[in-house]
């Protein structure tokens, strides 16, 4: 990212649409492919359960990141907006893990 993207300005504030239409289409194709692989993985016999869960979680995080970075323009926008979103997102993930730990629910680790 070049420095002109991080500098707040009036011209930057309303738009933030730095990615081109071609980039949007490429991102959408990648999102579609990742989803197709996720679904196909469910029907491939012999994949260990832990590996399947890990693969699904990694792909889900990748898709999440692509949409936030490119479609929501966070990759190009002011860092304040990243902090404003990622801070509560980390807290939300902590809440999910805390509730799961409280109830003894694990999706990656076998229960003791």
């Amino acid at each position: 990212m070049d420095s002109s993207h991080s500098a707040p300005s009036a011209a930057h504030a309303p738009g933030g649409g730095h990615a081109t239409v071609q980039t949007y289409i490429r991102v959408a194709v990648v999102l579609g492919l990742l989803t197709a692989i996720e679904i196909a993985a469910l029907y491939v016999p012999g994949i260990p359960s832990h590996a399947l869960v890990a693969l699904l979680l990694v792909f889900s995080v990748l898709k999440f990141g692509l949409v936030v970075a490119f479609f929501m323009h966070l990759r190009y926008d002011n860092k304040i907006l990243t902090v404003l979103f990622v801070g509560p997102l980390i807290m939300a993930m902590a809440i999910i893990l805390a509730i799961m730990a409280l109830f003894g629910a694990y999706i990656l680790l076998a229960r003791g």
């Binding site: 738009g15 989803t35 699904l56 479609f71 304040i80 907006l81 807290m91 809440i95 509730i99 629910a105």
Partner: protein
């Protein structure tokens, strides 16, 4: 820098950070929405596999159908950025088309969800049936309500565009609506994986 500040000084929507208050407000709102959906997802996962009676997720969830609806919502995000790009370059013909198509895809997703809910009720799964029913309907129901709100928002922008009251100078309105729309999409990415795909 001083010239930049002077240029934005007269705009009451631009704060000392140089960012538009409305856009910052939307990001702050989306941050709070992360916490909201985080608690619902956490509760679903905490109760996963703890229902003492059926039907359970493996008996009732229709992966192929939900995959199709997930794909529709994912592609609506592409249509949304195409709408924003068109409005930003003041190409209102395509701006109107993409806005309407985004709303249409969103309505399609809600339609899939209505069918799924109705089908599940016919199969005996309601809010009161078991822990799976209550956590599933609350989580996906709140998400569906968010999508419905987004469709209404998109249609209102489309009507403004039809009346000639939306142009490049209003692109921030479309961008803020887009932020909300992409957020409901990323929430569904998480829900789809955690509820439907993970065995």
């Amino acid at each position: 820098m001083a010239a930049e500040h002077a240029a934005v000084a007269h705009d009451p929507n631009i704060g000392c950070t140089g960012l538009d208050h409305r856009k910052m407000g939307m990001w702050a709102f989306l941050g709070s929405e992360c916490m909201f959906f985080g608690s619902l997802i956490g509760t679903y996962l905490a109760y996963k596999g703890k229902s003492i009676n059926g039907p359970g997720p493996h008996e009732i969830l229709n992966i192929p159908l939900t995959s199709l609806s997930a794909f529709v919502l994912l592609m609506s995000s592409l249509l949304m950025v195409l709408a924003l790009a068109a409005v930003q370059r003041d190409d209102m013909k395509w701006g109107k088309i993409w806005l309407f198509m985004t709303a249409l895809f969103g309505a399609g997703f809600v339609g899939f969800q209505c069918y799924e809910f109705t089908h599940f009720v016919h199969l005996g799964l309601t809010l009161q049936t078991n822990l799976f029913g209550s956590t599933f309907f609350v989580l996906t129901g709140f998400h569906g309500a968010h999508v419905t709100g987004g469709v209404i928002w998109l249609l209102s922008l489309w009507v403004l565009a039809l009346r000639g009251r939306l142009g490049a100078q209003d692109s921030l309105k479309v961008e803020i609506c887009g932020l909300y729309w992409h957020f409901v999409d990323i929430v569904w990415i998480a829900i789809f994986t955690l509820i439907y795909l993970i065995p």
